[in-house]
Structure formats: C-alpha cells, structure tokens
Symmetry: C2
Subunit: 299 residues, 2 copies
C-alpha cells in the first residue's frame, strides 16, 4: 500500500490528510491558516508524523488551494498563489515548500477544481467526461473537469464573477463584490444574503423570499454555464446550499429559463439527475486533493 497526502488549503483552515490509493483517508488534521511561516511547517510536521507512524514515504501530495494560482506549467511562478489579499500569502509556493521539506512530488490546483476532480473520480460526477462543481458559501467558486482534465486556460475559472441579470426594481441591493458589485458572487454569496436581509444565512427560514431570489441568481449562473460549457452534470456544494429548499427550486428555474432550447431529457424530465448535490459533501475539497495525488490529471 502506498501513502498519499492531501492538503485542502483554505483561507481560514488547512485540512491535511493521508490516504491510501483507494481514496480512503486514514488520518486527518485541521490547521488554522496563519502566515505561511507558521502554517506550512505544521503541514510538514503532520506528514512527517504520518510517514513515521505508518513507516512509509508519502508518495505524492495533492493540494487544492485558495487562489488565484499560477497554473501555467511554462511559468517561472507555476504553482504559486499570486495576488491574494490574504496578508503574507501572495507569491507563496506551497508545492515547492512541501517538496523541499518532504522530498515528495506535489500536484496543485484550485480548491474548486480539486473538489470537482474528487467528485469526478469518486462522487457525483463519476463515469462522466465533463462536469462543473460550484461551491456557494462565503465566496462562490466554480471548477470544471473537461475530458477528465481540470479546466485551465489564461488562468483558471473564476465562475463566481460571471455576469447575471440584476433587476434593480426587484432587488435594489447593489451587491458586495469589491471588483464588480453585482456579479454572481456579489449578489448571491453568504455575505450578500446577510447584508441584504440582515439575517445570517443559516438563520433565514425556509419560505423567506431570500431563497427565491437566491435560487434566481444561481439558476441564471447555471443557465450561462450550460450554454457556455455544456457540462454533463452540475454539482452544487457549499454552505448556502445547505438550505434544503434551494436545490429543487434551482432545478425548476433552470428548466424554465432554458425553456426547451437545449434538447436533452436532462434539461427537462431528468433535471434531478443533472443538477445535483456533491456526493462527497463537504469532504469534496480534501478528497479531491487526495484524488490529485493518487491520479494526477492527464497521467
């Protein structure tokens, strides 16, 4: 049995795990995200301890990281976190640090691409060629797997920042995105719910008009994703999606909005199989990072 490592590198916490090649985690640790100088040595220490405990080298570590990341293999800063507002973290090279200190290969991608990859290999996207995974919470991020490969290009997707139709007469709230005000994230993330309704998202009751508006913006985003990317399935995770009324409402609105244009039963009678919850739940990030380690995309 080989040992593989996973690092879900988030803005508030790092979830580190060690697993076998079947994708089972056998150890896990949560580390608070402080400065890279404080946090990364703790990550190294975790893997060193696990390696000693199981008397095996960690063969490869998969990292699903907050970003933005430089994922251009031809770039001198490949694998670096680039321009994050998070103090201390711009230009941090997590894979290089782990490689130097643990002498093991690393595979890095964005947190949402990692989660998408986990769902693609082991979750709600299993058996399909192309999927989109959204996390809708404090931030909104979207990752995509196309022909088995996480989507990169100029940089990587930033699906939270797509444009949606904002009808000010229905929703005068200006949006919270510091870059675009009323992009998808600006109108539909957790903080926008909080600011618009003066209620914490977890305390907004079922039946509250907040959820109709939220479902409206999410369904618009999905309409655009279907027409631009045409994924074979869309997976919706994140804290905001814990509200049980949302998923059925979103499905209905997407179906109405596309209005029969995209000819597939998955857009109409079978839409429950098209827009789904993540099978890995809130484990998609760490398991997706493990997946990056066990089966590096394109290998």
């Amino acid at each position: 049995m080989d040992l593989f490592g996973a690092v879900e590198a988030g803005g508030t916490k790092f979830i580190c795990g060690v697993g076998n090649d079947s994708g089972n985690l056998i150890a896990e640790q949560r580390i608070e995200t402080r400065s890279p100088e404080e946090t990364l040595p703790q990550v190294v220490q975790f893997f060193q301890e696990q390696s000693r405990k199981y008397e095996k080298e960690i063969r490869r570590i998969g990292i699903g990281s907050f970003g933005p990341l430089d994922l251009d293999p031809g770039s001198s800063s490949f694998g670096h976190i680039t321009s994050t507002p998070k103090i201390g973290w711009p230009d941090t090279d997590i894979p290089d640090y782990l490689h130097l200190n643990l002498n093991c290969e690393c595979t890095i991608d964005t947190d949402v691409n990692a989660a998408a990859y986990g769902e693609y290999l082991w979750g709600s996207g299993r058996g399909l060629g192309s999927i989109v995974y959204f996390t809708i919470g404090t931030g909104i991020g979207g990752g995509a797997i196309i022909n088995g490969i996480p989507l990169h290009g100029l940089v990587h997707p930033e699906m939270g920042h797509m444009i949606v139709n904002h009808d000010f007469s229905e929703d005068p709230f200006p949006g919270v995105c510091p870059y675009h005000n009323d992009c998808f994230e600006g109108l539909a993330n957790g903080p926008s719910l909080h600011a618009r309704w003066k209620l914490e998202p977890g305390k907004i009751p079922n039946g509250h008009p907040a959820w109709d508006l939220e479902a409206n913006y999410i369904s618009q985003a999905l309409h655009s994703v279907v027409t631009i990317l045409s994924p074979q399935r869309i997976i919706l995770g994140g804290g905001v999606m814990q509200q049980p009324a949302l998923l059925p409402r979103i499905r209905k609105l997407v179906q109405g909005s596309l209005n029969g244009y995209v000819r597939s039963d998955l857009m109409t009678s079978e839409i429950d199989d098209y827009i789904v919850a993540p099978l890995l739940g809130n484990r998609a990030g760490v398991l997706g990072s493990l997946a990056l380690a066990i089966k590096p995309p394109g290998d």
Copy 2:
C-alpha cells in the same frame, strides 16, 4: 499529395471545398441550402467531380454544420442534425450520406466549433491550447477549443444563449430570441439591431448609439466567458463585427468590467492581443471544416 474535403453546412448555403494537406483550398463551390434531398446530392456531385479532375480519392471530409447536432459518440444518432426548425432537416445524417455515396470517412462538428478549430490550427489561435471563437451576425454562436479538442459535453456550447444583464431603463427593447427573449443573442444579433433601431445593421453609421449598446452586450458575454472558461484568446467574427468601431470598444469595456480581477497583462495592457479578429476572416468556417478533415481532433 492527399485530397481532403470541407463542407461548411449553413442554413442558407453550403460551401464545399477540396484542399491539400497544407490547408490550401484548390476548388470550392457554393450550393444553396434547399431540402436535404436536393442539396446533399449536389454536395456529393461536387466531390465526385473534384475526385475525377485530380484523379484522387477524397481521403476524409470535414463538416462544420448548423445545429443542434448530436455529437455524443455513444449515441445511435451521432452526427445527426437534431431539432432544427429548418424544414426537412431534423434528423438529417450528413456524415452518413456522404460516407455512403463517396465511401470516405467524415468528421463533423458545429459550424462554430469548426471555425474555432480552423482558427486554432491556422489562424488567430495558433500556438495556444484553449480559445473561444464567436460569430456575431444573424445568429450568435460560440465554439471553444480546450486542450486542442472542440468542446462538447451534454450537447455542445450554445453561447449565443447565455444570460446578460439587461437594463430595461437603458434599453427597453425586449429582445428577439424565441426561447429566451433577452439572452445575449436576443439582444445583440443582427435582427435585434434591425428591430431596435429600424435600420439594417450594415447601414447603422459609426457613432450611432447602437454600437455602444452592442459593445456593451458583447463585452458582458466576454466577461462571463473569461470567468467561466478562461480561454487564452477570444476571437470575434461574423457580419456584425464588420463595424470597425466595435472591436476597440469591446476591449475597453471588457477591461473595465473585469476591473483587474483576472490578473494577466492580457486583461489590461495587452488586451488587443486577447480579443482579436479571426485571421481566417469569413473563411474560418470552410477552412475549419477542412482542418477537421486533415487533422481530426484528438487523433
């Protein structure tokens, strides 16, 4: 020298061509699109004549077709035009017809994916891994090449039908899309320009407010494409893009709209290299079809 065939199958005309493996067309014919029973035999006749003239078999034919198409290799109707409103054409299997009558292999994709593939191999997308190609004219279509492969998934992209932000106070025009009213195509295609301003698009003068509004909708679509797909370049073709004021205005609006969020010089100082005209011009469709024949994607 091998001979390859190209069919740009459009709703009003079929452009058929024969070329060599360097991508040079050596013969070409325009055939009006009538019923399949009238049009397809003329296509076959063209290739038979060329084959006799050059005393060579046609090795493979690439088809860039209007759609929607079934492009699922596992489907029993793979390669068929599916639900087009064009009378006589639903469920037409162009590749099968050409294969039966010419005994040669065919490669089919959507007209815009074919054009994108031509630009990727020989045009404005040369040397890149992922590009998006739009045609903005009577209809609006978008194709994408990701890691060298035309993008398919549930079906194929229908980028004309993405959502844009429609501010009725600025633009009370309801849109012309029969499915979605004010999707991108409904607000920005040629017929919408005509209906909104009571002028043929080709006769709307430079400096007319129509072009500001047009650039606004196109830049919104590009903002969403950048955030969802993150292509390495976007190529804008089609009749509406013949208006010379549009391209510089679109670049400026996209830069302003993304507002520095996507960190790349191509989004700011170098945006003239990011949003570009098709190098193959209005030849992208037929040359892209030829490209599908010469170098079938994924081979």
